[in-house]
């Protein structure tokens, strides 16, 4: 495995660990985010995925 792959692996591990920690902390917190805030975050991500996919599926312009 080359150094770039190792660095990528470490970065992914740190990112996943940070997200898991945040999720655990949120799950055990008395402060629950409002439903609309959670849905707004989800929608923003779905919109980004749709925009990215449409950009990738668009036929190349000549």
């Amino acid at each position: 495995m080359d150094p770039a792959q190792i660095a990528n692996l470490i970065a992914l591990g740190i990112q996943a660990g940070t997200q898991a920690y945040a999720a655990i902390r949120a799950a055990h917190s008395d402060v629950v985010p409002p439903l609309e805030d959670v849905l707004a975050q989800a929608d923003a991500n779905w919109d980004q995925i749709i925009a990215n996919a449409n950009g990738q599926l668009k036929p190349p312009t000549t």
Binding site: N8, L9, A16, L39, A42, D43, N45, W46, I49
Partner: protein
């Protein structure tokens, strides 16, 4: 790279599970599952686009993957819209079941078009995690106890003494 992808999505699977504690509102849990799935799938999409640009994913697979992601994101948007309109557990169950059915259909019919094992395993893990989270919420929504009729209070706050047949005869 394959290990890195697997590790990332394995962590997301854990994230999806721990983000759904039993004592919270089930609609909110569904929304959190949708949000976490959107994060996982967006990360996968970014990775796939980079890998394609680096020449590691064939064009045909790239097109197939992006088509699948477009469908999944549309399912996510529909789920979110339905969750905003939920008034009862039955509404929530309908919303979750619709998304679950769509994701299951995508896994069984759309992923066969992807030939690259690395890409296929990455998207399969992300979608399976989403499916598992939705299935878990479906189970919880299905087992929520129905409200029971209030118990009639007939003793007006006093201890009720049940008389034996002998006592009844004596009175």
């Amino acid at each position: 790279m394959k290990r890195a992808t697997a590790l990332g999505f394995l962590a997301v699977l854990v994230l999806l599970t721990v983000a759904c504690p039993n004592n919270q509102n089930l609609v909110r849990q569904t929304a959190i599952a949708s949000r976490d799935a959107s994060i996982a799938i967006l990360q996968f999409q970014n990775w796939e686009i980079s890998a394609h640009n680096a020449g590691q994913v064939p064009d045909t697979d790239h097109q197939a993957v992006q088509t699948v992601l477009l469908k999944v994101a549309t399912v996510g948007k529909i789920l979110d819209a339905r969750l905003r309109a939920v008034n009862t557990n039955a509404d929530a169950l309908t919303a979750v079941d619709g998304a679950l059915s769509d994701i299951t259909g995508i896994i069984s019919t759309d992923l066969v078009k992807i030939t690259s094992p690395q890409v296929k395993s990455g998207i399969l893990v992300a979608l399976t995690a989403t499916q598992a989270a939705l299935q878990s919420i479906h189970t919880m929504l299905s087992t929520v106890p129905k409200p029971t009729a209030p118990v009639a209070k007939t003793d007006f706050g006093h201890d009720t003494k049940h008389l034996t047949p002998g006592e009844l005869a004596a009175n």
